[in-house]
């Protein structure tokens, strides 16, 4: 199977230096677990981050230079000849960071997409089985038709970083021309300011019921009824997931 990992030119949130975003490291790990040749693809000038991506196990990274709309450039590059599998991170780190690129690409190519992928399984009749990670440790099995785009879950297992591989990775620059311009984003940009989250919104309706000195049996009955009402007990499949 031929896999391609999409690499954004990421920066580290703390230091601001080039780094591979966590989700894209997870995507490399998923691609490697699927087996076969795995290459990286980046739209833009290459940076140290692309070499670092090689350290996680990519043999080759193509940088598509020339400027323009990344979705159009990737769609053109991926359609001849198409790989079986395209993997992306949940969102970039250092640009618009909206996580829209894989979705726009899937729409453009007409490929199916699944997000939050934790693990990749086997291929059968052109269907790939994947495991999706949900909150609270829950999992969901799914099947998706190849070729497809998968967005890695940030918590998917990350492959180890090997410095020597980062040194030896082949970074190739491909010039692209006549791509449509980058869509304009409106608004004013400025340094980030942390804003406090809302507080005191926990719990429905504030002050709760207080049961003073009940008989143990009575207390147990009330407790059990309350936990049932919250859906925390029994085999209530799926009902207790805050997805």
């Amino acid at each position: 199977m031929r896999g391609v990992v999409l690499l954004s030119g990421g920066i580290d949130p703390v230091s601001g230096r080039p780094a591979v975003p966590r989700g894209e490291v997870a995507a490399i790990g998923l691609a490697l677990s699927a087996g076969g040749a795995v290459g990286g693809l980046h739209v833009g000038e290459g940076s140290v981050a692309q070499r670092q991506a090689g350290g996680y196990g990519l043999e080759r990274v193509d940088c598509l230079r020339g400027g323009g709309d990344a979705v159009a450039i990737l769609a053109a590059h991926l359609s001849a000849p198409p790989p079986d599998l395209v993997l992306a991170g949940s969102r970039a780190c250092g640009g618009e960071d909206s996580g829209m690129l894989p979705y726009l690409l899937a729409e453009r190519l007409g490929w199916p997409l699944l997000a939050g992928v934790m693990a990749i399984g086997a291929v059968a009749d052109g269907w790939l089985s994947v495991t999706i990670g949900l909150p609270l440790g829950a999992r969901q099995e799914a099947r998706i038709r190849l070729p497809c785009i998968l967005c890695a879950h940030d918590a998917a297992p990350a492959p180890p970083f090997v410095f020597d591989r980062a040194r030896r990775v082949v970074v190739r620059t491909v010039d692209v021309s006549d791509a449509p311009p980058v869509p304009v984003v409106e608004g004013v940009e400025r340094p980030y300011r942390a804003r406090p989250r809302l507080i005191g919104s926990a719990g429905p309706g504030g002050g709760g019921t207080v049961l003073e000195n009940p008989e143990p049996a009575e207390a147990a009955r009330v407790l059990l009824a309350h936990l049932r009402a919250l859906g925390m007990l029994g085999s209530s499949e799926g009902a207790s997931i805050d997805a």
């Binding site: 640009g95 926990a202 019921t209 009940p214 049996a217 207390a219 925390m232 207790s240």
Partner: protein, 357 residues
Amino acid sequence: MTGRPRRDPRAERARCLVPGGVRPRLVRAGWDGVLTAEAGPRPPAVVCIEEPAFWVAAIVETPEGRPDRWGRQVLGAARVLAGAEGGVVALVTGVEAGHGVGEGGADRVVVLDIAIGPEAMPGVMLAALAPFAPRHVVMAETPAGGDWARRLAARSGWSIQAGIEMLNARQALRPVGAMRRERAAAPARVLTVPIDRVAPYGGMRREGRGCVPPDVPVLEARVQVGPVVLAQAAEMPLAEAPFVMAAGQGVRDFDSFHALSRFLGATEGASRVVCDAGLMPRGAQVGASGTVLDARCYLAFGIAGAPQHLQGLGKVEHVVAVNTDLHAAIVARAGLAIIADAQAVMPALLDLLREEG
């Protein structure tokens, strides 16, 4: 202009004036009654709106049959964008959906089948939204909501602002550039809100009138999703566990405690004092210097609720406490508090569970 009648202080004063007497005497008690009696009937308890100037859509997940905290905040965000003139239509997905959506601020409700797969969802949503032509669509930045929002934006070509941290009717603000920068812009067509960023709607109850859901088209599915498999409580990391049961200094009978956690399917936690004493592993410590929970329910036995401990309950929605002290801080945080000895309640609960099988 708001629809509120203007106050006339002079008339109000005149109405409070008790007739007779040499000096003017005012009676302000019962003022309300006097006012409303003269100003016509009380306004209805439910706000109904027939033809709003425009619509704003909120997509609300109701895992428990009614909007949870996050869902109410999504409705609150939609109300902010709707202002006084707009109406809010809620698309609700979940089990027994549709309850509590009017209180949350929705004028119309469309219930979508939860079994619609991720691939068909944008098409179904677009069909449901078409009669309303909403100016904005608001969703929660949950795994499912974030996925739908991006699919919807990619399909329709609408602009999107994902993960906004501040919202008012004129602008939305979101972090960009690896959370080192932020951008303020006019609210986009599609918005997603993280938890605890936008306040829930606090105004009068809205009608929440049900509308007919659209037909679900039969697509040639290229994605098949199976059932959700919940994680086993015992091996789940404390930070991810949905249901945590914790022991504090007030617990001495640890055999009952462990038996109970197994019966209830809860992950075990503890206060620092208990971990310090070696009665529970350090990994079980809940609080500022332990684990911050992401649970939905926290059942605390014999825990006082020190500030350092309560910090670990940041996002927990339902707290249940068993404590001998009515004035313990945890009792104030609890939705249900039982003032009793933990050593008596735990065995009683075990007996009850065994009885029920």
